[in-house]
Amino acid sequence: MNRTLATLAAGLVLTTVAACGSSDSDSASGDATKAPETTTITVFAAASLKDTFTEIGKQFEAANDGVTVTFNFAGSSDLVAQIQQGAPADVFASADTKNMDKATGDDLVEGTPRDFAKNTLQIATPPDNPARIASIDDLADSGVKVVLCAAEVPCGAAAAGVEKAAGVDIKPVSEEQSVTDVLGKVVSGEADAGLVYVTDVKAAGDTVKGVTFPESAEVINTYPIAALSGSKNAGVAQAFADHVVGAKGQAVLATAGFAKP
């Protein structure tokens, strides 16, 4: 069954490639001789790093002539699954150690991953804070519409940890798929409050209000970065990781609200 399928799939792919490739090949080889030497590295980074890594990527390109950095931003578990399936990635920056461990466990990582940032949870409310949320205890009041991440995703696991540390039992009206979804429900005023990362509140600007609570220090998310063993540009990949851990990268991350590792 599986072999038949595989043969069929291979046939389909080959036919398609042959059909699409024939006309392009001449022009492509012509360009390659004229164009200057360029190196492109692909960085797989957690969705919460979109703004900061885009900026760090520009810094890195400016400092290294002929280097282009492209990004794939998605949930860390999606990214690690893509890397495991052989996606062409040079660097992996995860939002938690759990997903980085999956990559190291499969020997996909070059060297040891390095922690480059930390993030904690914060309560986000609409700007006028209609339910007058002042502490995490307020989230447990009935009548307050709270939105959390589902326990299956990292931000939901963090929320569960914070609940446990504070000894409160929050009954959410919705368990969302990602931090962005939680934030969306708060920004639109559908929910009275949500638990998101400090950096999300900061990035959302005036559209939400952040409420800090001391128990958030109990659950800290650590972001590790590593060059991948499948990289064809191992040197550049390693240099990018060094740049993120280095002073310039750290400055960008600190401005966005990330804590030092």
Binding site: M1, N2, L5, L8, A9, L12, T15, T16, G75, S77, K145, V147, A150, E152, V153, P172, V173, S174, E175, E176, Q177, D181, G184, K185, S188, G189, E190, A191
Partner: protein, 251 residues
């Protein structure tokens, strides 16, 4: 001609077959019968049934107006009614949010009436009806136009009142179209994802329908996600069979 046709067929069939080959058949029933899966399936079936009923109740008059009357702006109205067919469901969800949400256009009115739509099963049904209604209107309007109004005219000249004509002549004539529309609406409601996750949220037993459950299970238990996906595929195949059955009996 047969080669591109075969490639096209492969493109559709191959991913489904590949998915089926990944199912852990030994654990299939335990995977699809976990509490959260059962809650999601039951919620999906319940909400889709209610949405289909709403599509029938709202779709019949809409199709009648479009097929049996003519007025200025009818073409525009028809295009607008069909919009959810081509709109990305997420966009539909955002639109619904700004209409029925707590701070939406009708939000305050609804809250004054003591109704809570946000994060409720009602929100799921509204989202499903929004995306499924055009299927009903299109099927039924087509059937009405094909049936023509000769029989209705005859019935009227024989002294039947408009309601009697509708009940005894028009609706029986277009029953296959109505059935096909209902089945398609049900299928669309069952598969609805984008508008629901944007507008209604995701909570077990309240708003987390089967497609949302599949999306969430992907994070932690891919085997369960694949098994549940196959359940939806089977339901979809059954639905197509039903529609084809009702179409061929109509001919």
């Amino acid at each position: 001609m047969f080669i591109p046709a075969a490639l096209g067929a492969l493109l559709i069939v191959l991913p489904l077959a590949a998915m089926a080959s990944r199912v852990e058949w030994g654990e299939f029933f335990s995977l699809i019968s976990s509490d959260s899966s059962r809650a999601a399936l039951w919620l999906s079936l319940r909400t889709s049934a209610v949405s289909t009923l709403l599509c029938v109740v709202l779709g019949i008059p809409m199709a009648l107006v479009l097929a049996r009357t003519s007025f200025r702006g009818q073409t525009l109205l028809r295009s607008l009614v069909l919009l959810p067919l081509v709109l990305p469901p997420v966009v539909g969800g955002i639109a619904l949010l700004y209409t029925f949400g707590r701070r939406g256009l009708l939000g305050e009115t609804i809250e004054v009436l003591g109704l809570q739509i946000a994060f409720s099963t009602t929100a799921v049904i509204i989202a499903q009806t929004f995306v499924a209604l055009p299927f009903m209107v299109v099927s039924l309007e087509g059937a009405l136009r094909t049936a023509g109004h000769r029989y209705e005219t005859v019935a009227a000249t024989l002294g039947a009142r408009p309601t009697t004509v509708l009940r005894r002549v028009t609706l029986p004539l277009v029953l296959p179209g109505l059935a096909a529309g209902a089945v398609l609406s049900f299928a669309r409601a069952l598969g609805e994802f984008g508008a629901t996750i944007t507008f209604a949220g995701s909570l077990e037993g309240v708003t987390r329908t089967l497609p949302l459950e599949i999306y969430l299970q992907r994070e932690s238990d891919p085997d369960a996600a694949v098994a549940l996906s196959l359940v939806l595929v089977v339901i979809a195949v059954l639905v197509i069979g039903l529609v084809r059955g009702s179409r061929s009996s109509a001919l």
